[in-house]
Symmetry: C2
Subunit: 345 residues, 2 copies
């Protein structure tokens, strides 16, 4: 029997199948009573808190390859990258809308898997998939997710604009695992590194990133002055905090937390993966030095790994504003390394 494809069923039927692929609590809850099936979704927002909204798109052949990712993992990731942005503002995610641009050639069961993957992550965070749009596209299958959430501390949120000279610079977790996972996916099938016991964990870091929701709250509670999530790589993303805050930074290269598995499998590329690889979805944050000891103790209590990797300094009037300190103590300017989506090839 040929596989049922999107063009074989009505749009109404497709929407219904996708809706039913979600766990019941992800289709709606007391806070989000109106979801899929109306002109707009409705949400009773929390009085006194700020509404946060973010959007991220994934395009086949650009952001993912279907021979590397399962549809279920793709659904997880499409939602995760958005929840990560809510985390970076110290927010609690509440709902998401999902737009699919489909060629009509996709199988219905693959799209159901996509929604199952989204549903898994949504359920973990009590997020409702509250609607969206399905449109036809000639060639490029793509997914466009918008996530909404709110702050938790009477409107207090973390932006990119608050870093001040003297603040210390931190990252959560370890860096480079996602880039290493992608590198593993690109290796020839007979490369021995693909059979390493640590390989599946690195690949999972790339395919199913974990949004650091609770860590975002902790950062806000511990007085962080700025934060963002690491999607384009440490050096590129840090530039955005530096620009928005009007400051400069020094990173201690030997302090950057790189997972042992990354160093073991890619000894020559580990530092490159950690600093320019991207897609780790850890949080990058600055915290004022005053009270830093108490802040770090509290992180330990909460079992969150936070590593100090450098400090914020005054921005020079001209010239570079991102420096690394080599293990021998010498400073070196970092060439602007932001990942540019139109020039990266």
């Amino acid at each position: 029997m040929p596989e049922e494809r999107v063009r074989d069923i009505s749009e109404f039927e497709l929407i219904d199948r996708l809706r039913m692929a979600l766990p019941p609590t992800v289709r709606g809850n007391a806070l989000v009573p109106i979801g899929i099936g109306d002109d707009a979704a409705a949400w009773t927002a929390h009085a006194g808190e700020r509404v946060l909204v973010t959007t991220d798109s994934l395009v086949e052949g650009v952001h993912f390859r279907l021979d590397w990712t399962s549809w279920r993992d793709l659904g997880w990731k499409a939602l995760a990258v958005n929840l990560s942005d809510i985390a970076a503002m110290a927010g609690l995610p509440v709902l998401a809308t999902v737009s699919l641009a489909l060629t009509g050639n996709e199988t219905v069961s693959d799209l159901v898997e996509l929604y199952r993957g989204m549903g898994e992550l949504a359920q973990l965070h009590n997020v409702v998939i509250a609607g969206g749009d399905i449109v036809r596209t000639p060639h490029d299958f793509s997914i466009h997710v918008t996530a909404l959430g709110h702050t938790l501390g009477g409107g207090k949120l973390l932006t990119r604009a608050g870093a001040r000279p003297g603040d210390w610079l931190f990252v959560t977790g370890t860096l480079g695992a996602s880039a290493a996972g992608l590198a593993l996916l690109m290796l020839p099938a007979d490369d021995p590194r693909r059979r390493a016991t640590t390989a599946p964990r690195l690949i999972e870091a790339h395919l199913r990133p974990i949004p650091r929701i609770e860590t975002g709250w902790l950062l806000a509670a511990r007085n962080a002055s700025s934060a963002m999530d690491l999607s384009d790589g440490l050096f590129g993303d840090l530039e955005k905090i530096l620009d928005r805050s009007g400051v400069a930074a020094i990173i201690d290269l030997d302090k950057i937390p790189i997972a042992a598995a990354v160093r073991a499998l890619f000894p020559d590329q580990a530092m490159e993966f950690a600093t320019r690889g991207g897609e780790d979805y850890e949080l990058l944050a600055t915290i004022p030095k005053e009270g830093i000891r108490e802040a770090l103790e509290l992180f330990e209590e909460d079992d969150v790994t936070v590593t100090r990797i450098g400090e914020i300094i005054e921005r020079p009037a001209t010239g570079p504003h991102l420096f690394v300190r080599n293990p021998d103590g010498s400073l070196e300017a970092v060439a602007p390394g932001a990942f540019d989506h139109f020039k990266a090839e």
Copy 2:
């Protein structure tokens, strides 16, 4: 000098140029202090009201053709179709996010025009363009807009689910102008209808639809039991209210308000355009008969055209649930006519 294209400048530079193409009040306001340039936008929601969120995508070659629409009109329309969904819930729009999937071959000045068009409409409604995402796509240029707003009457909103037997069925404005405008755009350049004095108005109805924001509030204030906006055509969209409300309807064909210009230029297709054409972005609503006289008088005071086109009836246990009453009084079932995005060709 060759035209500057997206791939010739950095992503940062592109975002900055697009941001600057917006009127200052559209880049941020007191309610939306954090917009373009952070992980998420932040909005101080109105206590006691519900947050509304909706999303709509436009794909080149499917939803628009760049030889028919200007970039500025395209920007207007991409936002308008979203604000129309907020209107259909009786909401006040507040902010929108915009994601662009670009091939890199677009000119920067065209995209600036796109943002100017969005900015024009946004400014009219005090809407902030609060961020988004720019991604690369291999072939299909597309625009994905998400609009947020809130209710105005202590949480009261209009859904598709409230129509009851005995309610009267209304539409705002006139129908068919958008489909007639599209038909004009598709005519050969030497067709005399393209030179009709009314042609530009019909084409404008297609390219720059007006979201019926205030009319949505009036409908809610006048006790409408359900509403939606007409994007896929009267017959197709009405089916959605009937399904969600569990009712049936009779439409009086001779009551459907069709603009005189549509009848004049397309006498044989006018009814088809009005009932199945789509993209008029007028509102379709049901209002209980009790108190209907007062409701209609108030619409007149507010200078809003609202036409009664039929009534809601009990849903038969089986068989069709949408009927038209011909001018001779006979009833006729309407074949399901929803526009299906994957089968329409």
